[in-house]
């Protein structure tokens, strides 16, 4: 199973009663599995919260009543939840509580690579980090017990690589959750006003001090990997090296040592914070080390703490040198090759062919990789965003030519971020969730009339942190045209439901109904927050002419204007409808597709300006008569991919933009015979 599945399994096995989440890569799937669990199990509740702060707070509440909870989100979500995060540990928890947070050191699917371990410098929350898929599952139960032992929350740190890794997992015993919690009033503990907060802080810091000295906890999470017992360890005098590492880095270290055929003692940390000084010193003394190499991704967190240990507390080991970020990059993910290089800088090794081999390959890569074209991601075929950006781009081009106005695009987090890429290129910034309208607020109030603001936001992001920025813009009647893409789902992370998803289409995983709420109607909400009728426009996505009319009348108006594009995510709609008609057997049905006819003049309107991935091109060999002899010639041919086109959802945007009328509706029967209709 994957790391994410293992987390979900761990939560199932550990008797967790309540869990909340806002979806985000790399942990999105955990929420999906838990949603399934909550609809099949009567004593487990799961919630897709509005944002990470709400998710964390609701889990704090549940834990105070004595039940076990796990809250999960991506590393950036912790910034949103940072406010309660800094105070509630003073009050502590009752039921075990884990904050499961996924980091993204390679920035594969985020806007930054922040190292969330550094949060523990001011929150003092203990951090545990698994290194294998099996540990992903085990650490949930271990972490909850740890949390209950000291009545403090535990931070479970994980990175993208492990979440998306697969491995064999041995299941454990299933503990049933506690059915009902009970909130016991305790003003001194839960009300953190001045005098009380100070007392609670002292108590909390004392607990962390105890954790740091607890050798049992240390051995529960940390272990030493060494081929030989310390006494028998053969140590050449100049090569007394030990390695300190954790998480994914541990697997790279193990692999690098295999490749180099060396067996230095490795202390693998599962508990990264607080550091047990005594045990770390013991490790160094036991193997009589003179060099300690610290291998970790991003910031020198473990390195800094281990340096402080050896500077201040460990008198016997004054001669120990520690290397880490002086030779390792603090940007990006690590891999085995980087670790091999790092180790060979400090360990004297006989065999150098491996390094030469790596060097040769890297030189080849330097030569080849730069000449390869990249692939830019784009919207799915038939996506409802495509016609909107197409129409907007056309209108903006016309207006800026006529009136000399420069349009500025505020971007946000969601599928519409892809408008940055070819062929739309309509995006001027992406910072964090809600920052599209937020930053537009400031720009719009200080620029001249020659610069006009457009801000994009999706429905889920709008409820997450966009709504405050919009309210602020309404308050000041700021000159922004806001486009809200109401696609009913949190699409980019895998179509999770949110507060404004129409209740009748919500995905059913099990038999148990988990919600009896009516949800919120986005349009009703917008009508009630002070937008007057002329400034709130609601439109579908697939009529390009209508969209162009709406944009051209609203782009140059002043004041706040909101355009809601009301169209379900095409990918989810396709899946939903096909699931409904599953029994009818797709293959036997006749279906209508769009096909390109020979009258296509390759004007590029569909492929270059619309850019639907279902429309494709390939080079074909074409025979031509040149100077009375037949010559083969490479020739570009455009075609529409039947497997990608979704005519049951998209009403043929390509057909409506084609100037030559070359795109025809075609009926295809199961034997793949085509006829025009």
């Amino acid at each position: 199973m994957s790391g994410n599945e293992a987390f979900a399994r761990g939560i199932y096995e550990s008797g967790v009663r309540y869990s909340a989440n806002y979806p985000g890569t790399p942990l999105s799937e955990v929420g999906d599995y838990l949603k399934f669990l909550s609809e099949t199990s009567y004593s487990f509740t799961f919630d897709y919260a509005l944002n990470e702060k709400v998710a964390l707070e609701s889990c704090i509440g549940a834990s105070w009543t004595g039940v076990r909870t796990v809250v999960m989100f991506k590393h950036l979500g912790l910034n949103v939840a940072a406010d309660p995060l800094h105070t509630f540990p003073y009050s502590g928890v009752n039921g075990g509580m884990l904050i499961l947070c996924g980091g993204d050191p390679g920035i594969l699917s985020s806007t930054n690579a922040q190292d969330n371990r550094l949060y523990s410098l001011h929150t003092k929350i203990p951090i545990i980090e698994p290194a294998t898929v099996q540990e992903c599952k085990d650490y949930i139960k271990k972490g909850l017990r740890f949390s209950e032992l000291y009545d403090i929350p535990i931070y479970l740190h994980v990175t993208t690589r492990l979440c998306h890794s697969y491995g064999i997992v041995t299941y454990g015993e299933i503990e049933p959750p506690k059915e009902r919690g009970f909130f016991e009033k305790d003003p001194n503990r839960y009300i953190n006003t001045r005098g009380r907060a100070l007392i609670n802080q002292k108590k909390y810091f004392e607990k962390i001090g105890q954790v740091a000295k607890n050798n049992k906890i240390f051995h529960l999470f940390n272990f030493i990997k060494a081929k030989k017992e310390p006494e028998k360890f053969e140590i050449p005098n100049d090569n007394r090296i030990g390695i300190l590492t954790s998480g994914s880095s541990y697997s790279y270290v193990v692999q690098a040592c295999q490749k180099l055929e060396i067996n230095p003692p490795i202390l693998k940390l599962g508990l990264i914070f607080p550091i047990n000084r005594e045990e770390i010193c013991h490790f160094a003394n036991q193997y009589n080390l003179n060099t300690l190499l610290v291998v970790e991704e991003l910031e020198p967190f473990i390195e800094t703490f281990s340096k402080s240990v050896f500077c201040n507390y460990c008198n016997a080991k004054r001669d120990l040198t520690i290397h880490g970020k002086d030779n390792l990059p603090n940007i990006g993910e690590l891999n085995t090759e980087i670790v091999i290089r790092f180790l060979t800088q400090h360990i004297k090794i006989k065999s150098t062919p491996l390094i030469e081999e790596i060097n040769r390959k890297e030189e080849l890569l330097k030569e080849i990789l730069p000449i390869l074209p990249i692939r830019e991601p784009t919207f799915c075929s038939g996506c409802q965003y495509r016609p909107v950006f197409y129409a907007l781009k056309k209108t903006v081009k016309k207006l800026s030519n006529q009136l000399g106005i420069d349009f500025i695009y505020g971007g946000d987090i969601g599928c519409y971020t892809l408008s940055e890429a070819y062929p739309y290129q309509m995006l001027d910034w992406v910072i964090c969730m809600g920052a599209g309208i937020g930053i537009a607020n400031g720009i719009a109030q200080v620029v001249s009339e020659k610069q006009k603001l457009i801000a994009f936001i999706g429905d889920s992001t709008f409820f997450h942190t966009g709504i405050q920025a919009l309210l602020n813009a309404i308050k000041n009647n700021t000159d922004i045209m806001v486009i809200i893409f109401n696609n009913y789902w949190t699409s980019m992370t895998g179509q999770q439901e949110h507060i404004a998803t129409p209740r009748e289409i919500i995905k059913k995983f099990g038999n148990k109904s988990t919600t009896d709420s009516k949800g919120i109607d986005l349009i009703n909400l917008l009508e009630s927050i002070g937008l007057d009728k002329s400034n709130l426009i609601i439109s579908g996505a697939y009529n390009i002419e209508a969209l162009e009319r709406i944009f051209s009348s609203n782009l140059i108006k002043s004041g706040i204007r909101v355009i809601v594009i009301n169209e379900e995510c095409a990918l989810e709609k396709k899946r939903r409808l096909r699931k409904q008609s599953d029994n009818k057997e797709q293959n036997k049905q006749e279906r209508i597709y769009y096909t390109l006819t020979d009258s296509c003049t390759k004007c590029n309107e569909c492929i270059e300006y619309l850019g639907c991935p279902a429309i494709n091109a390939e080079y074909v060999q074409k025979e031509e008569m040149i100077n009375n002899s037949t010559q083969g010639k490479q020739c570009l041919k455009y075609y529409i991919d039947e497997n990608a086109c979704i005519p049951d959802i998209c009403p043929g945007i390509c057909k409506s933009v084609c100037k030559n009328n070359s795109i025809k509706k075609t009926l295809i029967n199961p034997n793949f015979q085509k006829k025009s209709v």
Binding site: A131, H164, S251, Q255, C380, I607
Partner: protein
């Protein structure tokens, strides 16, 4: 004790990279001589027409298939294949296969689908845009580096034999598995495909075509 065996699948989003990865991992759980399976895949924004790779790593009992190194079960924990260490590369797309040439060396067998999927920016982009390297250059490069390269337009083969090009990935899987018969038990994999696609699926025919391809040629 055992040997580590690495398989890399490269391609473009939608070609079935993730699906092939799933099949290979499930296979690893089904046969007794594979003691451990790990793997990973790149995902996220790369899904729509982006570059996708999946890696699968087996720890195999030494008796079954003799490779050069010996490992314990606990030694196989990193899901990432080290540089030069792929034993089998299933390349669903030529450009994406040479993009991940880092893993290909003289121990590698490459099965390459020569059907090119041009990035949009190459087809209609500006003159400054980098060109798609010629298929000859790609095959030459792979020939130089790999132990053996089998290249064929599997899309076309699939279209001719099965009326639809979408079975190219399973045909390619069949070819790759034939190359390592000691590891891939045909019966087990066949049952796995039945579990996944049903009894009458054309995917089964596709696998047969792939498995027997080298014989037929």
């Amino acid at each position: 004790m055992g040997d580590i065996y690495n398989i890399l699948i490269t391609g473009v989003g939608g070609q079935g990279v993730i699906m092939l990865g799933n099949i290979l991992r499930e296979y690893g759980l089904k046969v007794p001589f594979i003691k451990n399976v790990v793997g990973t895949e790149t995902r996220g924004v790369s899904q729509r027409e982006g570059s996708v790779i999946a890696s699968t790593r087996y720890l195999i009992e030494s008796k079954i298939y003799s490779l050069e190194e010996n490992y314990e079960t606990e030694d196989l924990i990193s899901p990432l294949i080290p540089l030069n260490d792929a034993h089998l590369v299933l390349g669903l797309e030529p450009l994406e296969t040479i993009r991940h040439i880092k893993y290909i060396s003289e121990k590698t067998v490459v099965v390459l689908n020569t059907h090119q999927k041009y990035p949009r920016n190459v087809i209609i982009g500006s003159k400054k845009e980098k060109k798609y390297p010629s298929i000859g250059y790609i095959i030459d490069l792979l020939d130089q580096l790999a132990r053996r390269t089998i290249s064929l337009n599997f899309n076309e083969l699939s279209k001719i034999k099965l009326d639809d090009s979408i079975y190219a990935n399973i045909i390619l899987l069949g070819v790759g598995m034939r190359e390592f018969r000691e590891i891939f038990n045909k019966k087990v994999i066949y049952n796995l495909l039945i579990d996944k696609f049903g009894n009458n699926s054309k995917n089964l025919n596709a696998f047969e075509i792939g498995y027997n391809l080298i014989n037929d040629l």
